[in-house]
């Protein structure tokens, strides 16, 4: 795709914007900065100027990279301007102009596209972070490697062994579901993976992990590397089509990405048709579990209060808002408390916490404030990236509140005949 097509696509995407400014109401970045170019209206206005040749994408680097792709603006935008498309197109424009960094190359084209490397990463990650922590205990190194530092702070204090190898070793005779293993679940929250698989099994479903499954492609897609995202999508569609069974994941971002594979190709292409067929096999975990809600009523003894954080990919990309709340409301022993701005992005947004540590922190602060105001003991969510970010925010405050995956609460409450 050439630069001109990017421009043409972009100008179609932003055509509807009438500058009402209502998008500011939903933008977590604008909320903490109050700067025009951090809200959709400003991003759109500036990119229009690029399309018309008045500004270069290099100049617009900041506005292009500070968007969380959280779509907080979308429900407020009566014109339905999709910032996810607008910004990924702009990022694509930048890549096409040769603005690609070595680490993006390594990540998107190498590591995340290879099942073997991913398995290897699982093995070395705990060692690496240990070494990283020791290195960063030296002040000078911390300053030099601030991005890395932020990345490591995000991780929970102890990393267990990754989930992938163990899952692959399991033998299942006639699986009913593919379990799609997200990278963050794999490396950072293997406990969540175990809980999800166990819960599904207790419900009577056998699941299997495909050995050839790779990263869902979201990181590459978000960085504007559509080519790499397509490659990963193709690899996954191949890997997950050996059996004609539905796909489930405990990571909302992965689920949403798989569901949106068709958007990677233009209308009418054979790839798109394939992707559509594939997407229709992708189920969303919470809505799926919601069908079995009677099993998760739990016991009556009081355990505490729980609040909920909507992952962007679940609430806005997949439009699932009520089901997780319904499950939490009926959870025996737990009192559900809605938090203010519960559906606002936590500022994790994939690598955002690493690339924009300052903004990410400020967005997180606001999020944590809102969560703590509920006085709940636990915040539940459905995305490991959010879990990492919320966990980090709570630890840093020294708060008593813990961040857990919804599935972990359900597992504990589950009763099976």
């Amino acid at each position: 795709m050439g630069r001109e097509t990017v421009k043409a696509d972009l100008s179609r995407e932003v055509f509807g914007c009438n500058r009402c400014g209502f998008c500011m109401a939903g933008c977590p970045v604008y909320r903490v900065t109050g700067r025009e170019w951090d809200a959709a209206r400003g991003r759109v206005a500036l990119l229009r100027l690029w399309v018309d040749g008045h500004l270069s994408l290099d100049e617009l680097h900041e506005t292009i990279s500070t968007c969380l792709l959280c779509l907080g603006c979308l429900p407020h935008c009566p014109a339905g301007v999709r910032l996810d498309r607008v910004i990924t197109l702009a990022r694509q424009g930048r890549l096409e102009a040769g603005r690609r960094s070595w680490w993006q190359q390594v990540m998107f084209r190498g590591l995340l596209t290879s099942p073997h490397l991913l398995r290897w990463a699982g093995r070395v990650a705990p060692l690496m972070t240990g070494a990283g922590r020791r290195l960063l205990s030296i002040g000078a190194a911390r300053r030099l490697l601030s991005g890395l530092a932020r990345g490591i702070q995000l991780l929970p204090p102890r990393l267990g062994p990754a989930a992938r190898s163990a899952l692959l070793k399991r033998r299942t005779s006639s699986p009913q579901f593919y379990y799609f293993l997200g990278c963050a679940s794999d490396l950072v929250f293997p406990g969540v993976v175990r809980a999800t698989v166990r819960l599904l099994e207790q419900l009577g479903f056998q699941v299997v992990l495909s050995p050839r499954q790779v990263c869902c492609g979201l990181p590459a897609w978000a960085f504007g590397d559509q080519e790499a995202a397509r490659r990963q999508a193709l690899a996954n569609m191949r890997a997950l089509s050996e059996l004609d069974i539905p796909v489930l994941s405990d990571c909302s971002s992965c689920t949403s990405t798989l569901r949106h594979y068709p958007d990677l190709w233009p209308q009418g292409t054979p790839e798109r048709a394939r992707a559509e067929a594939f997407a229709s096999r992708v189920l969303e975990l919470v809505s799926f579990l919601h069908q079995f809600r009677d099993r998760f009523r739990g016991s009556g003894s009081r355990k505490g209060a729980v609040t909920y954080h909507d992952p962007c990919h679940l609430s806005r990309y997949l439009q699932v808002r009520e089901e997780p709340r319904a499950l939490l409301r009926q959870l025996g022993g737990w009192e559900f408390r809605e938090a203010a701005e519960a559906d606002a992005c936590c500022g994790g947004a994939g690598s955002y916490a690493v690339t924009q540590p300052d903004l990410s922190d400020r967005i997180l602060e606001r999020k944590i404030d809102a969560l703590l105001r509920t006085g709940a003991d636990v915040v539940a969510t459905v995305c490991p990236a959010c879990l990492m970010q919320l966990g980090y925010g709570l630890r840093r405050r020294g708060a008593r509140m813990r961040a857990v995956h919804l599935v972990e609460l359900l597992t504990r409450a589950a009763t099976f005949p």
């Binding site: 055509f15 509807g16 914007c17 009438n18 500058r19 009402c20 400014g21 209502f22 500011m24 109401a25 109050g34 700067r35 025009e36 170019w37 400003g42 206005a45 500036l46 100027l49 008045h54 500004l55 100049e59 617009l60 506005t63 407020h76 935008c77 009566p78 014109a79 339905g80 203010a340």
Partner: protein, 887 residues
């Protein structure tokens, strides 16, 4: 130069000059674009001050900016200005629940404030449809309205104080936690000034309780006109809905396509009628609305079943413009406002004009206020389409002015309506507006090229060299110790103009109506000539359908009251059936009647004036529309100016249908009652009364009025008025509230007499009494009443109403001594510490130093404005007592 210096001073992160940053601040919610020289992100008030100082020093221009959602081009740079982004000054500094106020930075987003307040059971009434993004600073600067301003009023009715940085960077504080400060009404001037007079850096606003119950009725009509007529009918019936919004078929379809908000698609127009009030009091009103709607041909009627359904409807309404943008992303929103009864005609005219110009139009209106927002869809790439849009807009405005309307009800003049302003403001009016602007901003630093058009700054003076004819007059009151100069009554309008041109008695002139409030005049100086203007115009023109009256200022308050009563109406600006003096005197003094707590002060009811300026020129400001933001809000500003700026000839006041019922409660607070607790419970109560007065007397028989005030100790009088079921419900709930506090409540007879009781007659000068005016916020009332009861002897009566200034009258049988003056000083200090104000109205003339209104903060503003009006030297005004220094 300036930008570099600022960058050095504030840093490159605060002062940005990158081209892309500047481009991001080149537009607002209007279509135009421009390019500022730099964008400044001040971190605090100090930064704002430095920017203004630099702009003064180097001749730069500054555009303050909130969220940039205004619809008049107010924040679009014309070239080379500094854009001052105030979004970071967004701290909610204080929520004072005892005084029902909040203080916040200008960058705080309206809805975010509402979120904090709602948790506590409060709200800030202004709710522009843009509230989820627009800032409080922007709301004040535009005097924003919103769907609910029909019942609650616009921004200017809900701000109590402002901190403003004047164009040269000097900070002034105007207003405070109480109303009616003895100076000009600066809040009226700054609200709606579109950032041309100062940068608002702190807002002190009023809190009102959230309504207990809300009833939202959706009505559909087969024509636009029927809906328009139903609007007038509902209001004439005495139902005052919280909101009355109208949308046409095209708008509804756009909303339904975008949001599926739940509107009927098969009608030509819909009305959202929202009622709010105490629990259980809305049923009858709801029925009444339904009946009226049916009588006017409604074919669809639905009551929103729950909060969710109501929210969906409102979300549709708030997003209406933007939903239309899905049809065509470029639209122009008009803001035409007409007297309410012309709404049906105007709606029809809009459709006709659109058809004849071949443009697509959608009609949205704050119908209850007669405020139309026709939205014209156009294509900016097609010059013909742009031309047609412009022509249609011009014709719509022309038509609206022809019907007695105005060019902007709430969106402001900005850059877009600079030219159109001449439709409603003649050369004299524009000259005065411009002079006021220049008086405060001589270097043209703030928002040049918008808001107020450039206009020859010389006010033309009265051409005729005619010798004024006038008769000598006598003052109705004698003020011991004060010797006026000549006292005259001009025979006709021309004579008045000649007097104002300086051809009458020697200046300075003290202008009064009949003179019955003279004793209260804040700037009595020895030997000043007095001009009584009550003989000039006492006409009364009631516009029943629009609910306004236009009256000559010579009409007596009693007569006006009676005329209104005949027609089944009343005006809350009038103190009661037997108020003394003329309308002019009432407006000149600006003193509030008993119902101020709920209905505000006279300034809140004035929408238009005709006045004679110094020099003898006649001007008109405002009109008959209940919402009007074309130019500075001079009709309001002139209220309470004691004739020191201009002579008011006529005034147009808003009216209400006469209330069906009155009720009153009297509560004796037992000793030991924590008054703070009483206010805390009462102020936030959704059933709170319409008038509240705290009384403290020492139980004697008042020497002046002959009234006896029963046993001593503080007591609270509460008044209620309105629809029968509403009054009954609220009265009962208030009784319960006090019963829970174990306080006995006594019912008072209703009727206006209650009003008379609430506004106790003031003693007359020369009676040996001493009269002070003071305003004390609820939080300070306990301290002040205690002080008064412990320290004063003799006969005294302290009355402190909520929402207006109160009074203290005091009489010592033994006569006045120096140590009593010291006591008064002590009290004045106490009141000031409680964030109120205090001034002695009369007493021993030798204490005249104490009679003077202390000129503190806004003295500089007072002088500037008097110069702008050309009043300095001609009319007695603030500071004059000092200059004359009689004796």
């Amino acid at each position: 130069m300036m930008v570099n210096a600022l960058q050095r001073m504030l840093g490159r992160e605060v002062v940005r000059t990158d081209s892309w940053v500047r481009q991001a601040y080149g537009y607002d919610a209007t279509g135009e674009t421009g390019l500022p020289a730099a964008v400044v992100f001040p971190r605090n008030r100090g930064d704002v001050q430095k920017v203004l100082e630099a702009a003064n020093r180097w001749g730069g221009a500054v555009i303050p900016r909130g969220a940039g959602t205004n619809l008049s081009g107010g924040a679009v740079p014309l070239g080379d200005e500094l854009v001052l982004v105030l979004t970071s000054l967004n701290r909610l500094e204080e929520v004072d629940e005892i005084n029902a106020t909040f203080a916040a930075g200008p960058g705080l987003v309206n809805l975010e404030l509402q979120g904090y307040l709602q948790e506590l059971g409060w709200q800030f009434a202004p709710d522009p449809a843009s509230q989820k993004v627009s800032t409080l600073g922007g709301n004040v600067a535009e005097n924003a309205g919103g769907p609910h301003c029909l019942k609650y009023g616009v921004t200017t009715n809900h701000i109590l104080g402002l901190e403003v940085l004047l164009p040269d960077g000097a900070a002034v504080q105007v207003g405070g936690k109480v109303a009616g400060w003895p100076t000009y009404d600066w809040l009226a001037l700054f609200a709606g000034s579109e950032g041309t007079l100062g940068v608002v850096t702190r807002i002190l606003g009023k809190l009102i309780p959230l309504p207990e119950e809300i009833l939202t009725i959706l009505v559909g009509f087969p024509t636009l006109e029927q809906a328009g007529k139903a609007v007038s009918a509902i209001i004439a019936a005495g139902v005052l809905p919280a909101a009355l919004e109208l949308m046409d078929r095209r708008t509804v379809q756009a909303i339904e396509e975008a949001l599926a908000a739940g509107y009927p698609r098969d009608v030509e127009s819909v009305l959202i009628v929202e009622l709010d009030g105490p629990a259980g009091s809305l049923g009858k009103q709801g029925q009444r609305v339904e009946e009226l709607a049916r009588q006017h041909g409604a074919t669809f009627l639905r009551v929103a079943a729950d909060q969710r359904e109501r929210e969906a409807l409102w979300s549709g309404r708030r997003n209406a413009f933007a939903c239309l943008a899905r049809i065509s992303p470029h639209y122009s929103v008009q803001d035409a406002t007409v007297p309410r009864q012309h709404l049906p005609v105007m709606l029809r005219r809009v459709v006709e004009i659109a058809a004849s110009e071949g443009v697509t139009v959608a009609n949205i209106a704050h119908a209850g206020d007669g405020n139309l927002h026709p939205v014209i869809l156009y294509d900016p790439r097609d010059p013909e389409s742009v031309r047609r849009m412009r022509r249609a807009n011009d014709r719509i405005l022309g038509e609206c002015v022809r019907l007695g309307g105005t060019i902007t009800g709430e969106h402001g003049v900005g850059t877009e309506k600079l030219a159109a302003l001449s439709l409603v403001a003649g050369i004299q009016e524009r000259a005065l507006l411009h002079r006021i602007r220049r008086a405060l901003d001589p270097r043209g630093v703030l928002n040049p090229g918008r808001g107020i058009p450039e206009c020859d700054s010389a006010l033309p003076s009265h051409p005729s060299r005619l010798t004024p004819r006038y008769s000598p007059a006598e003052l109705p009151v004698e003020i011991p110790g004060w010797q006026p100069g000549r006292c005259v009554r001009p025979a006709d309008m021309d004579s008045l103009k000649a007097v104002m041109a300086g051809q009458g008695p020697p200046p300075p002139l003290l202008v009064a109506g009949r003179g019955s409030r003279l004793a209260e005049h804040p700037w009595l100086a020895q030997g000043t000539s007095v001009v009584l203007v009550d003989g000039l115009d006492s006409s009364v023109k009631i516009d029943g359908e629009n609910l306004t009256v236009t009256a000559g200022t010579g009409v007596s308050c009693q007569q006006l009251w009676a005329r209104l009563e005949e027609r089944g109406m009343w005006c809350p600006a009038l103190p009661g059936p037997s108020a003394p003096g003329t309308l002019g005197g009432l407006l000149g003094s600006g003193l509030a009647g008993p119902w101020a707590f709920r209905f505000g002060r006279p300034r809140d009811w004035v929408v238009g004036t005709r006045a004679v300026l110094p020099g003898g020129v006649e001007v008109r400001f405002g009109g008959r529309c209940v919402k009007n933001v074309a130019g500075y809000d001079l009709p309001r500003f002139l209220v309470g100016s004691w004739g020191s700026l201009a002579v008011l000839l006529t005034a147009t006041l808003r009216l209400l249908p006469k209330p069906q019922a009155h009720a009153g409660l009297l509560v004796h607070l037992p000793s030991g009652t924590r008054m703070q607790e009483v206010w805390r419970g009462l102020l936030r109560h959704p059933c709170r009364p319409d008038a509240v007065l705290l009384l403290e007397g020492n139980g004697g028989k008042c020497a002046c009025s002959g009234d006896s005030w029963g046993p001593g100790g503080p007591r609270i009088v509460m008044g209620f008025l309105g629809l029968e079921e509403d009054v009954a419900a609220r009265c009962q709930r208030m009784e319960q509230l006090f019963h829970r506090m174990k306080v006995r409540v006594q019912r008072l007879d209703g009727g206006w007499e209650l009003g008379a009781m609430v506004s106790l007659p003031d003693p007359v000068p020369g009676s040996g009494c001493l009269l002070c005016r003071l305003a004390v916020p609820p939080g300070g009332m306990e301290a002040v009443t205690r002080w008064v009861s412990e320290r004063l002897s003799g006969c005294y009566r302290l009355s402190l109403p909520l929402g207006a200034a109160g009074s203290l009258c005091w009489r010592e049988e033994a006569g006045w001594r120096k140590d009593q003056l010291a006591l008064l000083r002590e009290l004045a200090d106490l009141v000031r510490r409680c964030e109120g104000w205090f001034r002695m109205v009369w007493g021993p003339w030798e204490w005249r130093d104490f009679l003077r209104v202390p000129r503190r903060g806004p003295a500089r503003l007072e002088d500037a404005v008097r110069r702008a009006f050309g009043a300095a030297g001609l009319l007695v005004g603030p500071g004059d007592g000092e200059r004359n220094g009689e004796g």
